[in-house]
């Protein structure tokens, strides 16, 4: 259908252009370029038709199912809505050819009339489409005169498209918030929010009994997330990231920097599933051996330390680039002053640059924390599933993101408390990362203003 519209629009464009070229022979000076007239005509032809083509599939579906219900065969359908829907969708699959064999013999009987009806409605749709395009074309064609301001019309449409495009971002944000709140609301109507936010027992089951501990206490998850993402990973990433930034900006010769910067970008560009695989298969066993050597009983290769270390490495480029920016933003005069007083480079860095750049670095660390707690694949593959409230980095902990994946990739009954719990966890994750980001950006912005 859309191919047809494109062909018709192109034809209209060509006709419009040849028509507009004829204007130059008349005495009146045209108010727009031939391509403007042509585009206007093409828009007149394709616009209404495209709109129609977008809604027609939904419309024809409803019409087809209504028509089937009126057929004599449909009288045999069971009255229960679920059974009826199952048979109908099966019959529809048979008619499309997407389903090879049906469970219900009735589906075969229905398939033939459905296919027939679909063909009819497809024909009707195509006819309507062509008619709409023709009407649009004739209206547009009658308007094509030298005095007609085609450019303004075309540009108004362009501006509308630009505005719609920028509204997509707003719609996405709205969609995220709405879907999370809606599904989480359904979850909280089954499980009280206090149990979810303050309970310490996590062992979700599909069935929920009111007034009883249903294993939806998410505190161990929150702790695991903070332990891995905000503590272990940051212990690795903050010193390393800041030192990398200092070395690259203050010490490294520019030739070395030209090579190291892309290497660091590559470190940031490695997919997290690769990090996760590395953590689970290479680092995990090493840590396990180490824990055994330390005298731990039954150590696991899925430990908080494994995930945290690898996540820390993944975060290094982020912290180093943020620290890089904030060190570069410190006025040169401060550095020069310190060096002129006789301080060595390292003393200048430690006593002048770092304190001056600290707000920017802190902002960067907050952004890194928000990245780390939202990170999924590393913890799914390396951190384990046991919901422990523990301070021991060698034991297994689980995180919010791991549990979201776990809850949503098992059984797929969408209305169970288990799957809805994933949305509640997602809502918490979204709110926390949002607050961290807003806070971090505010700090960075304020600090930039201080030196501008």
């Amino acid at each position: 259908m859309f191919l047809m519209i494109a062909v018709m629009a192109f034809a209209a464009w060509l006709i419009g252009r040849s028509r507009a070229r004829g204007f130059s022979s008349t005495s009146l000076r045209p108010t727009a370029l031939p391509s403007h007239y042509a585009t206007f005509l093409a828009l007149c032809t394709a616009g209404p038709a495209a709109l129609f083509a977008a809604i027609w599939p939904f419309l024809s579906d409803t019409l087809v199912s209504r028509a089937i219900m009126g057929l004599p065969v449909a009288q045999k359908l069971p009255s229960a809505a679920i059974d009826r829907g199952a048979i109908l969708s099966e019959a529809r699959g048979l008619a499309d050819g997407t389903v090879e064999a049906a469970f219900n013999p009735l589906s075969y009987e229905l398939a033939e009339p459905i296919a027939e009806l679909s063909r009819q409605y497809a024909l009707i749709g195509t006819g309507l489409l062509v008619a709409l395009a023709a009407i649009g074309f004739s209206i547009g064609f009658l308007k094509l005169k030298p005095a007609f301001r085609a450019r303004q019309r075309v540009e108004a449409v362009v501006m509308l498209c630009l505005m719609l495009a920028s509204l997509v971002a707003l719609a996405t944000t709205f969609g995220i918030v709405a879907s999370l709140i809606f599904e989480a609301g359904r979850f909280f109507s089954m499980v009280p929010a206090t149990e979810f936010l303050f309970g310490t027992h996590w062992a979700p089951t599909g069935e929920v009994i009111a007034g009883q501990d249903n294993g939806f206490g998410a505190v161990p998850l929150f702790w695991g997330t903070i332990f891995i993402g905000a503590i272990i990973a940051m212990i690795v990433a903050v010193p390393l990231g800041v030192m990398v930034a200092i070395y690259l900006t203050q010490y490294a010769p520019s030739a070395v920097r030209a090579w190291l910067k892309p290497a660091l970008e590559m470190l940031a560009g490695v997919p997290t599933v690769v990090y996760g695989y590395f953590a689970a298969l290479t680092l995990g066993p090493v840590i396990r051996e180490w824990a055994l050597w330390l005298g731990m009983e039954n150590p696991t290769s899925e430990s908080a330390l494994t995930a945290g270390l690898v996540m820390g490495v993944m975060i290094i480029p982020l912290i180093s680039s943020m620290a890089d920016d904030s060190i570069a933003a410190v006025p040169q005069s401060m550095r020069d002053g310190s060096l002129a007083m006789g301080a060595t480079t390292s003393e200048t860095i430690k006593r002048v640059l770092i304190p001056a750049a600290l707000p920017g670095v802190v902002g960067g660390v907050l952004l890194a924390v928000s990245r780390a707690i939202g990170e999924t694949m590393i913890v799914v593959m390396a951190a384990g599933l046991a919901a422990n409230l523990t301070l021991n980095p060698l034991s297994s902990v689980t995180t919010v993101t791991t549990q979201i994946v776990q809850l949503l990739t098992g059984d797929q009954e969408f209305d169970s408390a288990k799957t809805l719990a994933a949305f509640a966890l997602g809502l918490v994750l979204f709110i926390v990362t949002l607050l961290l980001n807003i806070f971090a950006l505010r700090i960075v912005k304020k600090y930039r203003e201080a030196y501008d």
């Binding site: 996405t172 944000t173 560009g269 939202g374 997602g426």
Partner: protein, 305 residues
């Protein structure tokens, strides 16, 4: 009350050759060297990790790269598995992502940078774009599950839904990169075009956009590379099925390279270790090529006005 004169300060020139001073200077220089070494050590650790990761994957997986591996799809026997099905799924998903996110992202960037009036709506749009760029990817997966699958009933496990979800994720990256590229076009170009009678729309589409395009493309490639390596949102929308035949279209069930790596990494059979590493090599090769292209574009077309 009498004022006592302060005792005169005895200024003696510092004797830099005294043992106290030389040792102090030596100490400070040693601290300087230590600090420098520490920085070098941090850089070496970070790049060393990267090198170790790459070499490790290479040595594990290079023997698994052969024609069967490149042309077959998933199977239960590790000797028979291949990457082609997942690769095709990735390709289809990326096409959907690019087709949706590139035009929308560029148009939104143009609007925000060139036309948008300064008002509350514009601020709201800007804030939401900046926040979307920082939202964890798994949240986009939840969005895809709730909206595309459960509300619109689009097919599960399909590249269409994966592409839609990743497009929403990639779009803010393209908008932000696009705005920076558009900002870098000097105002004199716009003034000149307006001066010879171009309309605001013509100024932007005939002059600003072509000049900003290399920068926009660089940002787009980086965003696409990120989308190509993304796993978590695709797990949410069910692209983790066992797919033994390559998908024929955007609505067929499919899986993608990173998810295939994740699925194989869960297999117990020893043969899958080699195959997983080989798949990682293929994925990293593509990402490297894309990033290399982006860096090349940036260096070749970067203009200093």
């Amino acid at each position: 009350m009498t004022i006592h004169a302060a005792p005169p300060v005895r200024l003696t020139p510092t004797d830099w050759r005294s043992s106290k001073m030389t040792s102090r200077i030596a100490r400070r220089y040693a601290a300087e060297r230590r600090f420098r070494l520490l920085g070098l050590g941090a850089v070496a650790l970070a790049t060393g990790f990267l090198a170790f990761l790459l070499i490790h994957m290479m040595s594990n997986g290079i023997s698994g790269l052969n024609w069967t591996f490149l042309s077959q799809s998933d199977a239960t026997d590790p000797a028979q598995v291949g990457i082609w099905g997942a690769f095709k799924g990735s390709l289809l998903t990326m096409v959907v992502t690019l087709v949706l996110s590139f035009p929308v992202g560029v148009l939104a960037a143009l609007y925000l940078e060139e036309y948008a009036p300064r008002n509350r709506w514009t601020d709201l749009i800007e804030v939401s774009i900046n926040n979307l760029a920082a939202v964890p990817s798994i949240i986009f997966g939840l969005l895809g599950l709730a909206i595309f699958l459960n509300t619109f009933h689009l097919p599960r496990s399909a590249p269409l839904v994966g592409g839609l979800t990743l497009a929403l994720m990639t779009m803010p990256v393209i908008v932000i990169a696009g705005r920076n590229a558009i900002k870098a076009v000097p105002p004199s170009i716009r003034d000149a075009a307006l001066g010879v009678g171009a309309s605001p729309v013509q100024v932007v589409f005939h002059h600003v956009l072509p000049l900003a395009l290399p920068g926009i493309l660089t940002g787009t490639i980086i965003g696409m590379a990120r989308a190509l390596g993304e796993t978590a949102p695709l797990l949410m929308i069910g692209m983790r099925a066992f797919i033994a035949t390559p998908p024929g279209g955007v609505t067929d069930p499919a899986t993608v390279l990173p998810v295939q790596i994740f699925l194989w990494s869960d297999e117990v059979s020893q043969g899958f270790v080699e195959k997983t590493s080989a798949a990682i090599i293929v994925l990293l090769a593509f990402l490297l090529a894309m990033n290399g292209l982006a860096i090349y574009l940036r260096n070749k077309f970067e203009k200093r006005w």
